[in-house]
């Protein structure tokens, strides 16, 4: 987390609102059901939106803690599966090498 005094919500409040509104839209409900076979749970986006507004209004430590915990949980959920492959330390060495000449 950023140094106290320089911290800001991980996302602008308007982004939390946009994500909440997208989540609860009929279109997203259809997409989510198509992928997961169930309705989406959009409550956390609403909680985060409220925390974001609370932070903007009063710099509430509780709001900051709530947002950090929520986003850390999202990151952990995205990373919980072991990758099939090993990640590189740098790009492939031959990424920009000239193409081989084609035989005529």
């Amino acid at each position: 987390m950023a140094v106290a005094g320089s911290w800001q919500p991980p996302r602008p409040c308007e982004v939390y609102r946009a994500e909440w509104e997208l989540c609860r839209s009929v279109r997203h409900m259809l997409h989510h059901y198509y992928v997961h076979g169930e309705r989406p749970d959009c409550r956390q986006w609403l909680r985060d939106l409220a925390s974001c507004h609370e932070w903007e209004e009063s710099r509430s430590p509780e709001a900051q803690r709530s947002l950090c915990e929520s986003e850390q949980a999202r990151v952990q959920a995205a990373q919980k599966h072991t990758l099939v492959w090993a990640l590189r330390q740098g790009p492939p060495a031959d990424w920009n090498l000239p193409l081989p000449q084609k035989d005529k």
């Binding site: 991980p10 996302r11 259809l30 997409h31 198509y34 990758l83 990640l87 990424w95 193409l99």
Partner: protein, 246 residues
């Protein structure tokens, strides 16, 4: 080469012959399979004002899926140069394109790409393979599980298995059908480039599905429509702020 089964419309049926491009040489070398172009009269009318290079350029400049992938690849050290990393070619069979890891090049089958929307989807699909090649040691030719993983991701994240595209293919199931589509199209793509049995391909997909289906990089979500891709691109561009404040 990782391949994209042809079609946002009917698509290839299981078992139809698909394009195989020249192998890297790590496995058994395969002769190039570029046949003579055989466009139908009607299709040539449809695409005569939409050349592959022009459609590619429009995709690269405007499509939010592709713009995010290009940014992510640049961030990983694999800046994409249109002239170097893309090639419009005529291909045999019904395949729409492929990624050749041996030359770091995306092949676009200009005789099988029917529209701007199709071009965008094929480019997205192949750039996902390129992105995986850029960020990870993908054993394309020696580990079918690695190939399966990239094909699962490409089928899931490119729009190949969107609800609309599946309806066009006359697949009308809804509940959790996206995952069925991803599994099926990943198997098709593997069979297009590997001389293995359907059972072997299916097993590879099943073995890695849980991990690879849930690997949503660089989107962070399944981009069901351009709006989702735009949101994902916004998040990617704001990642410094995000990770600095959690």
């Amino acid at each position: 080469m990782a391949a994209a089964p042809g079609g946002g419309g009917s698509g290839p049926a299981a078992g139809e012959p698909l394009l195989q491009r020249h192998d890297s040489g790590q496995g058994s070398p395969e002769p190039p399979a570029h046949g003579k172009p055989q466009p139908g009269f009607l299709s040539s009318l449809f695409t005569r004002d939409r050349s592959c290079p022009l459609m590619l350029l429009k995709t690269l400049e405007t499509n939010p899926y592709v713009k995010l992938l290009l940014d992510a690849m640049k961030h990983s050290g694999c800046a994409v140069n249109e002239g170097r990393h893309f090639s419009c070619e005529d291909c045999d069979g019904n395949v729409s394109g492929g990624f050749d890891a041996s030359t770091s090049q995306v092949v676009l089958c200009q005789n099988n790409i029917r529209s701007q929307a199709h071009m965008s989807r094929v480019v997205t699909h192949e750039l996902i393979h390129a992105f995986d090649h850029c960020r990870a040691h993908v054993h394309w030719f020696t580990d079918v599980r690695h190939l399966a993983c990239s094909e699962i991701r490409a089928a899931s994240l490119s729009g190949d298995c969107s609800l609309v595209n599946e309806i066009f293919r006359l697949h009308f199931r809804l509940k959790r059908h996206h995952q069925t589509c991803v599994r099926d199209r990943a198997v098709l793509s593997i069979l297009a480039v590997r001389n293995i049995s359907r059972e072997e391909a299916q097993k590879a997909v099943d073995d890695v599905f849980e991990s690879c289906f849930n690997d949503r990089e660089p989107f962070g979500r399944i981009p069901h429509t351009k709006m989702y891709a735009q949101y994902a691109h916004r998040d990617f561009q704001s990642r410094h702020r995000y990770y600095s404040n959690i």
